[in-house]
Amino acid sequence: MKKVHPDPKAALDGLLHDGMTIMAGGFGLCGIPDELIAAIQASGVKDLTVISNNAGVDGVGLGKLLETRQIRKMISSYVGENKEFARQYLGGELEIEFNPQGTLAERIRAGGAGIPAFYTKTGYGTQVAEGKETKEFDGHHYVMERGLFADLAIVHAYQGDTEGNLIYRKTARNFNPMMATAAKVTVAQVEHLVQPGELDADFIHTPGIFIKRIIHVPVREKQIEQRTTRKRKDAAPAAAGGGAV
């Protein structure tokens, strides 16, 4: 069983069809499978439903697939950084299903773990609970959410071996591990491709069973969405909080 493919196009060969559902890892531009996205753009496949926390920025990441109008629907938690997205959305060309970020993560994790549905407090009594079953447990109210499973998942990892075992780096991990488990076929792009035994078995984030195909992507300049720094003269370190709202 050869999992290693020479390039993104080869790794996606035979997997793409119009109308399919694709999960794409990453948070903002951090840890996105950009080379695989570019290959999907090049393939011309269309009417895609894409499950991804964000929608990239204009011309970068999933922004590429928006430019070429290959996406029909997004399932995301936050899409604020993309003008082309806003244009298509307001023009009615693009459908969007907003999920709370934790609900989205859990739905994907559930889909991969054979859990068809679960209950969460998140969103109870809000728009996102409309039309969904609710249930009371121990005096609290919960919304039922369904697992998500895609035709294809594309993920980005720092290291991977030829068996498909993956290790992610820092906050580039984000949605990648769950998505790797929640699709008929998962394709991984890795910055460093090594032989089995070179990764420590205790520290593998995604076991190879979840990865059907893997490609090595040359290390290149990664993009930064919000470059924030402090001056070296700063006495007291500045804060670095900052959630999505």
Binding site: S76, G102, Q127, P177, I224, Q226, R227, R232, A240
Partner: protein
């Protein structure tokens, strides 16, 4: 003399306790980390998958693989751990985070919160806000007391009930505005109580600028 943004953040920092795990939203909440008292250990969680968030990096040391939930470059600390988004929100939803400090468009007297969308405007999404307010043990809102409209008029933000789409129902424990501090008995019948006034602000001024009902128990 209403509180400045920094004074609001300083006041919010008084809700921190040693050993707390805290999630800070963008805007004024981010400033709270500047006011963590010396000798107090507080670990900041970033919902994209990190516990133990450090300060912004020095120029030239930005790491694209190390960002916070606001997509800003940050740094790690010796205590830092990284995890997946599902583990991160398991942590949040499971009630393991002690305190969430975040901004708001509207808060109702029963603790309802609206901070993610305005009908008719481009909706960007709720991100992790709905999970945070539903899951974190204590939720503190820091916001301007009133909204300034384009025509120069002002609209109350502390309401009987929110008219914007909700982020969560009965989720807010405390509201810190530029004019004062309110507590909310979100699970009980206690309603909203004004407990502190900003320097030079009167009960009368707050009364005039607050639509929601509140008791007064200044401390």
């Amino acid at each position: 003399m209403a509180w400045t943004r920094d004074q609001m953040a300083e006041r919010a920092a008084k809700e921190l306790q040693d050993g707390f795990y805290v999630n800070l939203g963008i805007g004024i909440p981010t400033l709270v980390s500047n006011y963590i008292p010396d000798g107090m250990t507080v670990q900041l969680q970033s919902e994209n998958g990190m516990l133990g968030m450090g300060p912004f990096p020095y120029e030239g040391e930005e790491d694209p693989d190390l960002i916070n939930a606001g997509k800003q470059t940050i740094t790690a600390l010796p205590t830092t751990s990284y995890f997946s988004s599902s583990d991160s929100f398991g942590m949040i939803r499971g009630g393991h985070i002690n305190l969430s400090i975040l901004g708001a468009m509207q808060v109702a007297q029963n603790g309802d919160l609206a901070n993610w969308m305005i009908p008719g405007k481009m909706v960007k999404g709720m991100g992790g806000a709905m999970d945070l307010v539903a899951g974190v043990k204590k939720v503190v809102v820091v916001m301007e007391h009133v909204a300034k409209n384009k025509d120069g008029s002002e609209s109350a933000k502390l309401l009987k009930s929110c008219d914007l789409p909700l982020t969560g129902t009965q989720v807010v424990d405390m509201v810190i505005t530029d004019l004062g501090v309110f507590t909310i008995d979100k699970h009980g019948e206690g309603g909203m109580t004004l407990v502190e006034l900003a320097d030079g602000v009167t009960e009368g001024e707050i009364k005039a600028k607050t639509e929601g009902a509140f008791a007064v128990a200044l401390r």
